[in-house]
C-alpha cells in the first residue's frame, strides 16, 4: 500500500493554507524573482529570513521541508562546487588547475542560498495547497490566455483527471507486477537491458487498462452532461479576502525592502 499524494499536500490549519491559491501562485512567482534579485549579503539574508518565516507560518513539520531539500541537495552541492572552483580573480588557494577565489566563494554562497530558498518556497506552495486548488487557481489565472486560443479549461481538466488517476494507476501497477511475478517474471535481477525487457509484461497491461479507463471515463463524463468549459459553473468560488489583501501588502513591502537593501548595501557583495 502506498500513500501517494501528488505535490505532497499537507493538510493543516495555517494562515498560509487559508490564503487564496491564486495569491499563493502569484506570490511564489514574485518571491522567486525576488530571490534572484537579492544582490548583496544584506538583502539575501533578509530574503532568506523572510522565506524561513513563511516556512514556519505554514505549520508544516520542518521534516517535510528537509525531505524535499534532500532530493535537491546533490544539485546544490555540485553547482556550489562548480561556482567555488571556477570563480574569476586572484586565487586565494590553488592546487593544479583548481583554484579558489573570493568571487568563487561569493558565487557559491549565493547559488546555494538561492536554490534552497527556491525549493523551500515551492514546497511551501505545494504543502499548503491541495492539488485541486492548484489546478483550479491555474485555470483561473490562465483564463486571459484563451484570447490566444489556448484551451485553458481543457488543460486544467486534463490536470484534474491526471491527478485523480495517479493513485489508481500506481495501485494497478503494483497489482500487475505482483501478478506477473506470480507467473515467474523476474524483475529484480539481470542487467539494465534485461530489466527494461522485464517491464513489458507490466507496461502493456497498464497501457491497455489506462485506455480502457479513459474510454469509460469519457462515457461517464458525457452521461453527466459534460460539454467542455463553456457554460460551466463552479461549486467552489475563489474569493479574495482580508487575509489575501494583507498578504499582498506584506509581499509588496518585502519587495520594496529588498530593492532598497539592494541599493543601500550595494557594496556588500
Amino acid at each position: 500500500m502506498r500513500d501517494i499524494t501528488l505535490g505532497q499536500y499537507f493538510p493543516a490549519d495555517s494562515v498560509i493554507h487559508r490564503l487564496d491559491p491564486r495569491v499563493k501562485i502569484l506570490s511564489l512567482i514574485a518571491f522567486i524573482a525576488l530571490v534572484f534579485c537579492s544582490f548583496n549579503y544584506v538583502s539575501l539574508a533578509f530574503t532568506a529570513l523572510f522565506v524561513l518565516t513563511i516556512v514556519l507560518l505554514s505549520r508544516v513539520p520542518l521534516k517535510m521541508y528537509l525531505k524535499s531539500l534532500k532530493v535537491i541537495i546533490i544539485i546544490v552541492v555540485i553547482t556550489s562546487l562548480l561556482n567555488l572552483f571556477y570563480g574569476t580573480g586572484e586565487p586565494i588557494w590553488q592546487w593544479g588547475i583548481i583554484k579558489v577565489t573570493w568571487a568563487g566563494i561569493h558565487n557559491a554562497i549565493f547559488v546555494c542560498v538561492r536554490v534552497i530558498c527556491l525549493i523551500l518556497l515551492s514546497s511551501a506552495l505545494t504543502f499548503t495547497t491541495s492539488p485541486t486548488d492548484l489546478t483550479d487557481a491555474l485555470e483561473r489565472l490562465m483564463k486571459p490566455l484563451t484570447v490566444f486560443h489556448i484551451k485553458v479549461h481543457e488543460i486544467a481538466m486534463m490536470m484534474t483527471i491526471a491527478l485523480r488517476f495517479v493513485p489508481t494507476l500506481l495501485e494497478e501497477t503494483d497489482k500487475i507486477m505482483a501478478a506477473q511475478k506470480a507467473r515467474g517474471a523476474d524483475m529484480e535481477s539481470g542487467n539494465l537491458a534485461n530489466r527494461i525487457r522485464a517491464l513489458t509484461p507490466v507496461l502493456i497491461p497498464l497501457f491497455v487498462s489506462a485506455f480502457r479507463r479513459a474510454y469509460e471515463l469519457a462515457v461517464a463524463m458525457e452521461c453527466r452532461c459534460y460539454q467542455g468549459g463553456e457554460g460551466r459553473t463552479r461549486m467552489k468560488q475563489l474569493h479574495l479576502g482580508k487575509r489575501d489583501a494583507v498578504c499582498i501588502v506584506v509581499g509588496l513591502l518585502v519587495i520594496a525592502a529588498v530593492v532598497l537593501l539592494d541599493i543601500f548595501f550595494a557594496a556588500y557583495v
Binding site: 485523480r164 489508481t168 462515457v219 458525457e222 453527466r224 452532461c225 460551466r232 463552479r234 461549486m235
Partner: protein, 281 residues
C-alpha cells in the same frame, strides 16, 4: 404515466466487422412508469447494457423509438435534456469519478449544467447525505471502498436532480457488503425521493426486490412481469441458465416430487412458513 417508453427497438453497430449485421437488440419493447423500480435481468452479452445506453441517448435505435417523458431520443436537440433527466451509473466506480476529492466529483454534473455556486453546494451536500457519504466528502476517492465509490458515483448523478437513474450492473465489481450498501441506497432513493430506477443486473437477488422484472436473452425480451410471475417460470429461467431464488427452486422441485404447493415463494420467510405448513399437514 409512462416515463420511459421503448417501442420495438432494434439495434446493430454499423461498422464493426465481426459483429456486423448481428442484431444486438432485436425488437425490444417495454415501459417504465414514473416512480417505479424496474429490473432488467440477463447474462453478459444479452444486450442489457446496450438498452441502458439507449435510455439516456448515448445510443439511438437502428429502428424503433425510445421516448423519455415524451422526448424522442433520436432528436439531437433533446440529447442534453434527456441526459439531465436520466442519469446513468456505470459498472466500474473507479472509472466514473472525475475529481480527486469526493465533494468536487459530486459537483461535476451540476457544474456542467451551469447551476449557480451556492445551489451546487446545497445539492452536493444533499446528494452526499442521501447516499450516506457526507462524512467522507473531503476524502480522496481512491481511499474509499468499492461500495463507497459507487455511492459517490450515484451521488454525482442525483446531484443533477434527474427523474430517473439507470444503473448498469452497479454491483458487479463489489463485495457482498458493498453490494448491500448500494442496493440499500438505490431502494432508499426510489422510496424517499420517488426517483424512477432502472436496475440492470445479472444477479437474480437484485431483481427479486423490484416492482417489475424484464428478462433479456440474446438481444430479445425473454419474459417480463412481477418478480413472482417471472421467477415462478423456473423451467424457462433454468433453460436459459438464469438463476432463480433458491427458495423458489426448492419449492418448484418439491412440487415436481408431488408435494402440494399452491404457489412458489420468492424469499426465505415466505418459503419457511409455506414449508412449515406442508410438513405439519
Amino acid at each position: 404515466m409512462n416515463f420511459i417508453s421503448v417501442q420495438n427497438v432494434t439495434f446493430k453497430y454499423d461498422s464493426q466487422d465481426e459483429t456486423e449485421g448481428k442484431l444486438v437488440l432485436n425488437d425490444i419493447s417495454f415501459e417504465v412508469k414514473k416512480g417505479a423500480f424496474v429490473a432488467l435481468l440477463g447474462h453478459n452479452g444479452s444486450g442489457k447494457s446496450t438498452v441502458a445506453k439507449h435510455l439516456n441517448a448515448m445510443l439511438t435505435p437502428t429502428s424503433g423509438k425510445v421516448y423519455i417523458d415524451g422526448m424522442d431520443t433520436s432528436d439531437d436537440k433533446l440529447t442534453y435534456d434527456i441526459r439531465r433527466r436520466v442519469g446513468l451509473v456505470l459498472q466500474n466506480p473507479d472509472n466514473q469519478i472525475v475529481a480527486s476529492i469526493v465533494e468536487e466529483d459530486v459537483a461535476f454534473g451540476p457544474e456542467n449544467l451551469g447551476i449557480p455556486s451556492d445551489e451546487i453546494r446545497r445539492r452536493v451536500d444533499e446528494a452526499l447525505k442521501a447516499v450516506d457519504m457526507y462524512d467522507h466528502r473531503l476524502k480522496a476517492p481512491y481511499k474509499l471502498s468499492g461500495g463507497q465509490k459507487q455511492r459517490v458515483a450515484i451521488a454525482g448523478i442525483i446531484a443533477m436532480q434527474p427523474d430517473c437513474i439507470v444503473l448498469d450492473e452497479p454491483t458487479a465489481m463489489l463485495d457482498p457488503k458493498g453490494r448491500e450498501e448500494v442496493l440499500y441506497t438505490i431502494h432508499k432513493l426510489n422510496k424517499e425521493q420517488g426517483i424512477t430506477v432502472v436496475m440492470i443486473t445479472h444477479y437474480m437477488e437484485e431483481a427479486v426486490t423490484a416492482d417489475r422484472v424484464y428478462v433479456m436473452d440474446n438481444g430479445r425480451m425473454l419474459t417480463s412481469g412481477t418478480p413472482q410471475e417471472v421467477f415462478s417460470q423456473v423451467e424457462l429461467m433454468k433453460k436459459h441458465r438464469l438463476d432463480v431464488p433458491q427458495a423458489t427452486e426448492l419449492c418448484h422441485k418439491l412440487r415436481a416430487c408431488g408435494v402440494e404447493l399452491d404457489r412458489l415463494p420468492l424469499d426465505r420467510e415466505e418459503c419457511t412458513s409455506m414449508l412449515k405448513e406442508v410438513l405439519l399437514r
